[in-house]
């Protein structure tokens, strides 16, 4: 058995670690690229959303390397994502690309449900080993998240354009290379040092912008056209509303770990605008805009794949949040036709808008 999974940002780091720990063969697909998208868009229905197209692309590319089992998350509720694993499997079958499919759905009642599904891959390996593997994977996710968040602080203040990107790549590779739970802490320390070594101007004034919205387009830089990097280089400190490790704790561990940021904080403040589940992260998206506004952020940018229903609901509510809180918001919709140049123009204009607002505020208070 050779297991593979779709790309979603740095998710490959923890997943790879888990499988290796369990001595399961794993093949990581090549990073999402134009080729991935071309393959996916060609073989997926036109009106499917970007994540599905990229997933299909990932699976086709990695088949060339001998993968035979797909592990994928499922979902429930009104969002189509719940069906994606199955639909993708059918599309692959039609293409005569054979895969065994294992869908990990968020447990409805008890973590045991999840473990049963994991059994399909882990076979008769002892439970304690499986649980240790999950813990190890989770720690890797925590580590990559920490490094990514460091890059948010450093990039807008870097003295040499591109220095943060180079450091980030090296630092993530350090974490990726750590080959056991024992060597991970030291690797994380080295990664931190690499990031801290980037020369910065601590006193440079920066704007703070949150990127919020749909999980896949938020996490996968290919899908969001490297929005975090572009904003950073425009002198903007970003924060992302969903980090992988937080999501794992919220949805797979059902919030078991207590001292972790949770999307609960978003759902709590969403209620005057939207107080029921609309699928996906619609509710959290609305709530996150409120939350970031209260944290004093200068603006928020919602990202979603074209045709994403829960996010369209959220999009229609965001103007009201913006009016009430005074924090500007902008929505960017991604599909295979989105051009990077057009996005940069919009980002620049949005950042200009925030700058002028900031200056006005300062002029009024000083």
């Amino acid at each position: 058995m050779k297991v593979t999974f779709p790309h979603m940002g740095y998710m490959y780091v923890p997943l790879k670690a888990m499988f290796k720990y369990l001595d399961i063969d794993v093949v990581v697909p090549p990073p999402c690229s134009k080729r991935t998208l071309t393959l996916g868009a060609k073989n997926a229905p036109e009106f499917a959303c970007l994540p599905l197209k990229l997933n299909i692309g990932n699976f086709l590319e990695v088949k060339e390397q001998g993968a035979d089992t797909i592990m994928m998350a499922g979902g429930c509720g009104p969002c189509r994502f719940g069906y994606y694993a199955y639909v993708e499997h059918e599309i692959l079958k039609d293409l005569a690309v054979d895969y065994h499919l294992v869908v990990l759905e968020p447990p409805e009642k008890h973590i045991g449900e999840l473990l049963t599904r994991i059994r399909q891959i882990t076979g008769n390996r002892p439970w304690i080993k499986v649980i240790n593997a999950i813990r190890y994977g989770y720690l890797k996710a925590r580590a990559t998240d920490e490094i990514e968040r460091m890059s948010y602080q450093i990039r807008p203040r870097e003295l040499k354009a591109g220095a943060t990107d180079r450091a980030l790549k090296q630092a993530i590779d350090e974490i990726d290379r750590a080959d056991s739970p024992g060597t991970l802490p030291a690797a994380l320390n080295r990664a931190r040092e690499i990031m801290q070594a980037v020369p910065v101007d601590k006193n440079r004034p920066v704007l703070k912008v949150a990127v919020i919205g749909e999980i896949y387009t938020l996490l996968e830089p290919f899908a969001n056209q490297n929005i975090e990097r572009h904003l950073g280089q425009m002198g903007v400190e970003v924060d992302r509303s969903i980090m992988l490790s937080e999501w794992i704790n919220d949805h797979l561990f059902m919030g078991l770990l207590k001292n972790v940021r949770s999307s609960q904080r978003f759902r709590k403040v969403a209620s005057p605008y939207l107080n029921h589940f609309v699928g996906g992260h619609g509710e959290e998206t609305v709530g996150s805009a409120v939350w970031y506004a209260r944290q004093g952020f200068d603006g928020a940018i919602q990202i979603l794949p074209f045709t994403c229903m829960p996010e369209i609901v959220a999009q229609s509510i965001l103007p009201r949040v913006s009016e009430d809180t005074g924090m500007p918001t902008m929505t960017l919709i991604m599909d295979e036709h989105s051009g990077e140049a057009g996005m940069i123009t919009r980002l620049e204009a949005f950042v200009d808008l925030l700058h002028r607002k900031h200056e006005q505020k300062e002029a009024l208070t000083s």
Partner: protein, 328 residues
């Protein structure tokens, strides 16, 4: 004489203005970009140089439009700004107190909402509202009327025909249908203007609060039929500012003025740029599966800019100074 240059390089057209110290636009040029932004800008600079008195001093240069970065590097710009900011700056200069800017060009359309002189919100076209200007051009030539007459003919339409304007493809086939049914040309043209305005307001202006004064700019603003259709749809007066078709360049010049007002000397390389040799080359990077088509620009044999790479490996390597200084 002293003044500022504003250069707006779009995919279809390139506009250059010269603005004197008192912000009067003394020269303005409209050129077709024809896929050659640098050569077009050079041609424009030559024309401007000839039109201006010998001892003119350029105190600052601003660029905008999709070719802003490249042109900024080539000419040595003091301000490199996106077209939304540039249009907003120009509109609030020419239409005092403006609160809404409707902008429709050949390929792009946008709406900008200003409050207290500051951009408060904006939107750019989605695919379906793109190309209004080119679409009007196309229909004019299909109907065998000069584009300049289009607007006046549309104004004569007494009972505009309802045309399905969801997108250009629908609009065209519906127009042909209405023609075959025997409606008169004026009413069809008036109906087309109304359909395009509906389409714009639904796709671009969606959800935005449109308050007066409203400025209507971009090439399409020359069309009186479109202006009247906006006035009828919005129920308010729509102002077409004096330099409506070169507003991006006007804004860029104003931004350049603002930039050098802080006391920094201009980075303008001089009109000699018009006679320099620029060469664009390209190569495919095989550093990763993206296989980016990287384009590079050489000035007299020396690489001055690279772009087109997703990862920044190539662009970061040459344009360090420009990326750091391009915003704010």
């Amino acid at each position: 004489m002293k003044g500022y240059l504003g250069i707006d390089v779009g995919s279809v057209s390139t506009n250059i203005v010269f603005m004197d110290d008192d912000t009067n636009v003394l020269e303005s040029l409209y050129l077709r970009t024809n896929g050659q932004p640098v050569a077009t800008v050079q041609r424009g600079l030559r024309q401007i140089r000839e039109a201006l008195p010998q001892q003119t001093v350029i105190r600052g240069v601003g660029t905008t439009g999709s070719g802003r970065q490249l042109t900024g590097i080539v000419v040595g710009a003091d301000a490199v700004k996106n077209e939304i900011t540039a249009h907003a700056v120009a509109a609030s200069h020419l239409v005092p107190g403006v609160q809404t800017v409707l902008e429709i060009g050949g390929q792009d359309s946008k709406i900008i909402i200003l409050r207290n002189g500051v951009v408060a919100d904006f939107a750019m076209n989605t695919v379906c509202a793109a190309g209004t200007g080119s679409f009007l051009d196309q229909q004019a030539s299909r109907l065998n009327i000069a584009i300049e007459e289009f607007g006046d003919l549309a104004l004569q339409g007494k009972t505009p025909v309802r045309i399905a304007g969801r997108c250009a493809v629908f609009a065209e086939s519906d127009m042909i249908h209405k023609q075959q049914m025997g409606f008169n040309l004026e009413d069809i043209l008036a109906g087309l203007c109304e359909a395009l305005v509906r389409n714009y307001l639904n796709n671009v202006g969606k959800g935005k609060e449109i308050l007066a004064p409203v400025a209507f700019q971009g090439g399409v603003a020359a069309n009186a039929g479109m202006r009247r259709a906006f006035e009828r749809a919005l129920g308010m007066e729509v102002i077409v500012p004096k330099y409506f078709n070169v507003m991006g360049a006007v804004g860029a010049a104003l931004l350049a003025k603002e930039a050098v007002a802080r006391g920094v000397p201009t980075r303008f390389k001089g009109f000699g740029v018009a006679d320099m040799e620029y060469k664009a080359g390209s190569f495919e990077c095989d550093g990763c599966p993206n296989l980016c088509e990287v384009i590079e620009m050489a000035e007299a044999g020396k690489i001055i800019a690279r772009w087109g790479d997703r990862c920044g490996k190539w662009s970061n390597a040459v344009s360090v100074e420009q990326t750091a200084g391009s915003v704010s």
